[in-house]
């Protein structure tokens, strides 16, 4: 517990020293100062540069010792050998933690590995925790601590935290997810993991009150046994979603047994993930869809209590396609109760009485006594006791504003979790989709993607019951 909390300083430093701060806009040491200012970091900023008095209007210091106040976090953007020399100064100064952006360490061969070893030795001697080297840093939406080598930042404070073993991949993923309406708490580019590891941060998130969902952009674990232990403690409390790269078999060897030759790495990772309740996304699309589903449903409407889906569609074909996709994703599309069927016809005479039901006239033709036939169908289906979750399938390009308003209306009164699948495009449709995403509606482009995301939620719910039970044992 105490061990995990010692990592707080990486996200909520009261002061940041940028070692290698620069006036040159092309340099990371310049971008970082700029980002600290524009992102709105509120703590003290100390640029360090041996030959500058001021950088971007902030007073600069020649050495770390010269800094007048205490330094919680030192961020290094100087070349690798200089990092090693300056780490000693940081130790003298009493710096608590460091993020090393610089490359040229263990990833760069034997000489770099030696430098990294020296770096860790110096840091350990002074009790400095290190993230990196060879990373793009840490971002925290609450403290407005920015990453360095990127120009876009998630603005909204959210409850998803990310650990990435790829600086570029993780950052781009976050921006893609922001585009889908997901908001974040903390994003870590972990780099070479010379000191603090992916698993250390996983363990930290278990007790971090601001993190409710964890996403890992993963290459591989060094200590698989500890991952199992930490993941088992984490997943009953917070969902963990993983996107794993390097899925093809590594370390192929001439195995003497069938078991040895069959043991491809991704299959073992999959076994471990299932065993520990971690949800693995098959690709970036699926990872984004899971995050949209979890972050929008988990804390608002709630996770579906079961796997039974009630489908309400405008057009007929996409409704059937959604039913297929749901079944293929391991969900059920049960028949409606007799009462529901009766009420459907009563409210909308043209409606289909089966599941999926449809308005029969695309939902927006004003020939019906109901002003909002689509919403009326959802209300009827919501009350069916055979339905755990509702899937609304959007119309074509006709009257997207109408459908958007229907969905927002459903959001305000529906008591069961629901998702929206809207397989249409066009300028007006896109604008309406952005509105829905801003309103935290779990929105998906295709039946297959929506159903798969829902399947992930239902799987987690099923695992949750088991994980909590085995925790009690």
């Amino acid at each position: 517990m105490e061990e995990a909390r010692s990592l707080d300083v990486f996200f909520y430093p009261r002061s940041v020293a940028v070692i290698g701060a620069s006036r040159d806009p092309k340099k990371t040491g310049n971008a970082l100062i700029q980002n600290l200012l524009t992102y709105g970091y509120q703590g003290a900023i100390y640029p360090v540069n041996p030959s500058e008095d001021e950088i971007l209007g902030v007073k600069a210091y020649r050495t770390i010792e010269e800094i007048p106040g205490e330094v919680d976090l030192a961020i290094f953007t100087v070349p690798a050998p200089a990092v090693v020399k300056l780490m000693e100064d940081c130790g003298q100064k009493g710096v608590r933690a460091g993020i090393v952006h610089s490359s040229g360490f263990a990833e760069a061969g034997e000489q770099g590995a030696q430098l990294q070893k020296e770096l860790v030795e110096i840091a350990r001697k002074h009790g400095i925790r290190l993230v990196g080297p060879n990373c793009v840093g840490i971002l925290c939406t609450e403290s407005r601590l920015p990453w360095a080598r990127r120009s876009t930042f998630p603005k909204e404070v959210g409850r998803v935290s990310v650990i990435s073993q790829s600086g570029g991949g993780g950052g781009s993923f976050v921006n893609l997810a922001v585009h889908r309406g997901v908001s974040f708490s903390k994003v870590i580019s972990i780099g070479n993991e010379c000191d603090v590891s992916v698993i250390d941060f996983l363990n930290y998130f278990r007790t971090d009150p601001k993190t409710e969902i964890v996403f890992i952009y993963l290459e591989g674990f060094r200590d698989g046994g500890r991952f199992v232990e930490v993941a088992r403690a984490l997943t009953p409390k917070k969902p963990v979603i993983v996107y794993k790269i390097g899925r093809t078999a590594v370390g192929q060897r001439a195995a003497a047994s069938h078991t040895g030759s069959l043991a491809g790495s991704i299959q073992i990772y999959d076994g471990v993930f299932r065993q520990t309740g971690v949800l693995r996304a098959e690709g970036i699309d699926e990872a984004l869809d899971y995050l949209v589903a979890f972050s929008n449903l988990y804390f608002t409407q709630g996770i579906p209590k079961g796997r039974r889906v009630g489908i309400v569609s405008g057009p007929g074909g996409p409704g059937v396609a959604t039913a297929d996709a749901c079944v293929e994703a391991g969900l059920e599309v049960p028949d409606f109760s007799a009462e529901t069927k009766e009420r459907l016809i009563e409210r909308i005479p043209t409606a289909a009485r089966s599941n999926p039901t449809e308005t029969g006239d695309f939902g927006f033709v004003a020939t019906l006594k109901e002003r909002d036939p689509y919403g009326a169908l959802v209300s009827v289906v919501e009350q069916d006791e055979n339905v755990d979750v509702i899937v609304m399938v959007g119309p074509g390009e006709f009257n997207p504003e109408g459908f958007r308003d229907v969905v927002l209306g459903v959001q305000s009164r529906c008591r069961k979790p629901f998702i929206v699948i809207w397989p249409s495009a066009g300028e007006d449709v896109e604008r309406c989709k952005r509105d829905l995403e801003a309103a935290k509606i779990p929105l998906f482009l295709t039946p297959e993607r929506g159903a798969k995301a829902l399947g992930g939620l239902v799987w987690y719910q099923k695992m949750l019951k088991r994980l909590v039970r085995s925790e009690d044992q």
Partner: protein, 227 residues
């Protein structure tokens, strides 16, 4: 020190006798079997087990018995057993000159059930892992397998069987009753305990493991220990 005899001999594979001892210790159900050093003895044992039987060559020099043509299936009489014994010895010499025959393994022939594989393996990241999958000669081609790290719980065993593509084979098809997967789960749990208790085991194959209507039976086992 465990497996001292094997280590002394510089071998990686445990002998039939050593494997059988470990399987018995963990109550793993093996087909009825006996070991003979002569053809006459093989016939006597076959008569006791009852036909049809399976005859396998035992040699410290071969581990993949099928590859070495060291297996005779579906032998139905003492005469067939006698012929098979002499044929196996010839085949062994053809496969590898100078290969030493220790004797013959005579096993009850399982004629029903689905062939599966249960295995243990040391993963460089996660340590000992348990594998389950559809077995038999197609195992490496189908790769219809699931893994878990040790130790596993009963629910993990159930999941391992459920999540492979071939799981519907156990549920009964063409009017046949479902197979006894409970006994399969017991085997997975026992192998998990075995793997946790004996970290010296680098790799282990139980293949084939016949899942049947009543009970599951292991027909062959190989264990490789670290030297």
């Amino acid at each position: 020190m465990k497996f001292a005899k094997t280590r002394e001999a510089g071998k990686k594979f445990l002998s039939h006798e050593e494997v059988k001892k470990i399987l018995d210790d963990y109550h793993l159900p093996i087909v009825r079997e006996g070991v003979a050093t002569t053809a006459d003895e093989a016939i006597r044992i076959s008569n006791t087990i009852g036909y049809p039987i399976v005859l396998k060559i035992l040699s410290p020099d071969i581990s993949h018995k099928t590859e070495a043509h060291g297996v005779k299936l579906n032998l139905r009489s003492g005469r067939e057993v006698e012929e098979a014994c002499s044929d196996l010895l010839t085949k062994l010499r053809t496969y590898q000159s100078g290969a030493k025959a220790e004797g013959f393994l005579i096993q009850e022939m399982v004629e029903d059930g689905i062939e599966t594989i249960v295995g243990l393996h040391q993963d460089p990241t996660f340590g000992p892992v348990l594998m389950f999958g559809i077995g038999g000669v197609w195992v490496e081609l189908l790769r219809d397998i699931s893994f878990r790290v040790l130790p596993i719980h009963r629910l993990d065993a159930i999941d391992m069987v459920e999540e492979i593509k071939g799981s519907h084979l156990f549920k009964g098809f063409r009017g046949k009753p479902p197979l006894d997967t409970d006994s399969l789960h017991e085997i997975l749990l026992s192998v998990s305990r075995l793997g946790s208790d004996l970290p010296e085991i680098q790799e282990m194959d139980l293949n084939p493991v016949f899942v049947r209507e009543h009970g599951t039976l292991i027909a062959d086992a190989r264990i490789i220990v670290g030297l």
